[in-house]
Symmetry: C2
Subunit: 575 residues, 2 copies
């Protein structure tokens, strides 16, 4: 039991059967076909040599299979994390390519270490600080930013920058230098990939082909593009006419090594590493949970942290880039029938074979082809209508999302995410600092009390009923105190104020001070303060202070009971 | 009406009468006697020449009288703000005393400007981010820090540092250099002041003296100490024997001037200036509100910001240090019978007379005397038992307070306050990220539902009732979703889950996503999700999404109604 908490593989390995292997093998084949161009492309995006992308798709998959808790998550390089890696490594490398590689390895190891530490300390809940609005805005904006960053390979001109603005500026002066043949190749590839994802996929689904084969053919689009454009660039002579290609890729498997420890580098990279960990974890856990729910399985978010941490440590020692559970690959893995993490091990074996024997084939692979696969993949992540939906539902969520989008596009990925998180927290505090309050009356014929402004209710001439719709804490304590005091003083003749506490889930020390002040101020004005429907945990806490002794009035179990006691037999009037 | 919002003085000047003037004059006399040694001492604490303390007690009082909304607040230099000024100015001055003075003036002007801007933008609520625990911890720790920083004048040795640790380290090597005569003088003064505050005050209150005279005599302790020790140092020859004295103080009134604008200085000081504004505002508004409530008056926190801002701008142009409403002086002003801010104008006149004619008298005033007044004043602020009270009431409040105390003592005033604020916000998020949830049953014979673990209630075999005691937002959305789903699946036979929403005050976009996911997941498991007692504002918001269309169950006005509908005529069993 305890061992399987740390090594979830024990659970599924015990019951492994032959037909599981067949299903896992089939899924692995499809995922391997997807992963070959993706691992090369995301290496390009991260700014490292192509073989590094392959290395990040071997050992990390095995490590995740051992330690991760999701059955179907497909781990490996992903677009957003590669972009963040490039931004962080570019800032510390200062143009030195050896230092750049050292920085990506350091980022990978640190990110792995942080994830493992968070998992051991059970800090998975930290990911909740990233609200859906911030994540959604981040994914949309980084999709746009990634697509923009890949335009240089489609246009054949150098472009630099970590923000949309910098990229546009650096491109502006060079539009005359666009390489026509590269652009043509890239544009055709983009169109082909879009066609393969859309019309071709739908057409294949309608044919008599077995579903697994239709799936395989539809997902083979990028592989076909790689093969055709490589043939066009090498034997077809496009490379000789100026189309940039990947160039010689060394073959073989990575030898596990640890880089020399560089304290300055690690210090400069801890914040990006933390953000890469967090973003990677959130992406991974989101898709993992969605898929697990479909098969009534569960994800343990702390085991997930350790699994992803192990995968990144494995990637770091094989000289790779940060990895995480990719959204589209995991869905494909799931839909292709993967049953256990052994599918990931089979995928790793497939990529290892590629790294051992097929790397010479990539020499004439055009960079424009890889850029085209990236662009088509990330543009599906861009969801601008989400801004409209957020606007309609909640202005605060819209604001956080907009700040994240503008932050990522205008100031880079890190600054954008941080600005979004701070904005979401600040907006939450601001909103809860202004609690909704309602004066209540009794619904005729019931024991229920509702807002006098929304319902036809009966109010008491002697008792003012107020409901505060927020937990009381430092950000709203004084404001609530003043608001209740003002209402009480404006209702001449009401000698009692009853605070309905059903929506008060917590009263912190600041709010306790304010309640005590309110009690005193009302007493000075000849008004008695009562509470009703105080929740158990809140009551427990109040009993640890001397507030209940000071309270001029009583604490009633129900508001109805409070009114019955205080209002007695006096007449009530309909409001 | 509109004019009096910006210039509250119009209100009280209109009805001003002769006996108001008598009361205000008496209070002003007592406050002036307190303020003379205090203004000199807080100038010493802030590290500026003594006359600067006097300057900060003339024009600012007049400015506050015009713009402030409190009738009885006594504005001027205060200990905590002077300490913060010394820390901030010391850091940018680098030992250059002209730059140090320029920095204090810049801090005063910036702080005044920030306060006015906050007042105009109606940002008074920002002060609520400082929870009572953080404020209490801050005041206790800065009291200790201020007392420690004044020990150098009592011991006659140089000590430097902004933290307790630095002060202790710099003192450690010089204990042999303690000046015995200075220590004797300082110790006797401290004991005298403690006696005057305690036994003497109580004894005077029991005599037949008129109360105002008893009050005046009790408050005259520091003035007596100043006179006696000055005589001892000058004519008595202690200064000639090495007791450090204030030295020549230039007489006259400050000529209003604006310092040359130094962009670098202002940039380095904006954070300390913001904190000084915030802390000064909080101190001022706390005492102002306490005193106003006693006379059924009100403080407008935005007018207060403008009043304090005007006071600081006035202090800045007269070459002074940051000012705010002091706690002890305001209480004395109030108890001595001040009725209007004209008492502040009279006090300013008193200090102006001192600045014009009496400054030569301060030449032989021992610094140890001023240090003794500071130490006695701030040690009354130290409230270590508050830590115990906080521990008993709420571990989160205790933690925030402890972090603030240790932060201020160990890392300085600014770092301590910031750490406290961040800790308070983080603890609030952490707490609300783990909502209390209760399974509910019906209280026999009523329409009320209570926690099955706390009450003897009746539960339904077909319907699971759950109450979530927290607004749903990004920090708790996913956790709540999982928790409800798990509970629903562990209750075999329950085909309905009803979520009692009386404690849910808000549902943000992240939580909406989670509710939709919960609805789908429960539907997959054959369980219907219902809501009951949804608050008006929450219902309005849900209607702006498509959640209510997707919801498999219904929304009931009351939980009782939900159970009546869903449970029907089936038997119920007591739990």
């Amino acid at each position: 039991m305890a061992l399987s908490r740390w090594l979830p593989a024990i659970d599924w390995l015990a019951g492994y059967r032959r037909d599981d292997a067949a299903a896992d093998g089939m899924a692995a084949l499809i995922v391997t076909l997807m992963l070959i161009p993706q691992s090369l492309a995301y290496a390009l995006l991260a700014g490292v040599p192509p073989q590094v992308g392959l290395y990040a798709s071997i050992l990390p998959l095995v490590a995740y299979a051992l330690f991760g808790s999701s059955r179907t998550l497909a781990v490996g390089p992903v677009a957003v994390v590669s972009l963040m890696t490039a931004a962080a490594a570019g800032q510390v490398a200062g143009g030195d390519s050896a230092r750049y590689l050292a920085a990506t390895v350091a980022l990978t190891l640190m990110s792995g270490g942080l994830l493992v530490i968070m998992g051991v300390l059970r800090l998975g809940w930290i990911a909740n600080l990233l609200s859906h609005s911030v994540i959604s805005g981040f994914i949309t904006a980084s999709g746009i930013l990634i697509a923009a960053s890949q335009l240089k390979y489609l246009l054949g001109i150098p472009m630099h920058g970590d923000t949309l603005w910098q990229l546009a500026l650096s491109a502006a002066g060079q539009l005359g230098g666009i390489h026509g043949l590269t652009l043509l190749l890239g544009a055709v590839t983009v169109l082909f990939l879009l066609w393969a994802r859309g019309p071709l996929k739908r057409a294949l689904a309608r044919t008599a082909l077995p579903p697994w084969l239709a799936e395989l053919l539809a997902k083979a689009g990028p592989v076909v593009a790689v093969i055709v454009t490589t043939l066009a660039a090498g034997p077809g002579g496009l490379a000789a006419r100026g189309v940039a290609v990947v160039g010689p890729v060394p073959g073989g498997l990575p030898a596990p090594t640890l880089p020399p420890f560089d304290a300055g580098l690690w210090q400069a990279l801890w914040l990006p590493a933390a953000l890469i960990s967090l973003i990677g974890f959130v992406e991974s856990v989101s898709v993992g949970q969605t898929l697990a729910a479909k098969r009534r399985q569960r994800i343990d978010s702390n085991a997930e942290l350790i699994g992803l941490g192990a995968a990144n440590l494995a990637s770091g020692v094989s000289g790779g880039i940060p990895v995480t559970g990719g959204f589209s690959r995991s869905v494909v893995n799931f839909e292709a029938g993967a049953r256990t993490p052994l599918a990931g091990v089979f995928t790793a074996a497939g990529i290892a074979v590629v790294a051992l024997f097929f790397t010479p084939w990539f020499q004439f692979l055009p960079k424009a082809t890889l850029a085209a696969t990236i662009i088509v993949a990330v543009l599906t992540l861009v969801d601008l209508p989400a801004l409209t939906r957020a606007w309609r539902y909640s202005k605060a969520d819209f604001t956080a999302m907009l700040i994240t989008v503008l932050g990522v596009l205008g100031a880079g990925v890190e600054a954008g995410v941080l600005a979004g998180v701070v904005a979401a927290v600040a907006l939450h505090l601001w909103r809860t600092s202004q609690p909704h309050m309602a004066e209540l009356g009794q619904m005729p014929g019931t024991e229920h009390f509702r807002n006098v402004l929304r319902h036809r209710v009966i109010t008491s001439p002697r008792v003012l009923s107020i409901r505060v719709d927020e937990s009381l804490y430092f950000a709203n304590a004084r404001r609530t105190e003043d608001a209740i005091y003002d209402r009480a003083l404006h209702c001449d003749g009401r000698r009692h104020v009853v605070l309905l506490c059903s929506a008060i889930n917590h009263i912190d020390a600041s709010a306790l001070d304010s309640l005590q002040a309110l009690n005193r101020r009302l007493a000075d004005a000849g008004v008695t303060l009562h509470l009703s429907e105080v929740k158990g945990p809140v009551m427990d806490q109040l009993q640890r202070s001397d507030f209940l002794q000071q309270l001029t009035g009583e604490v009633f179990l129900s508001h109805y009971q409070a009114l019955e006691t205080l209002d007695g037999e006096t007449t009530r009037e309909a409001s």
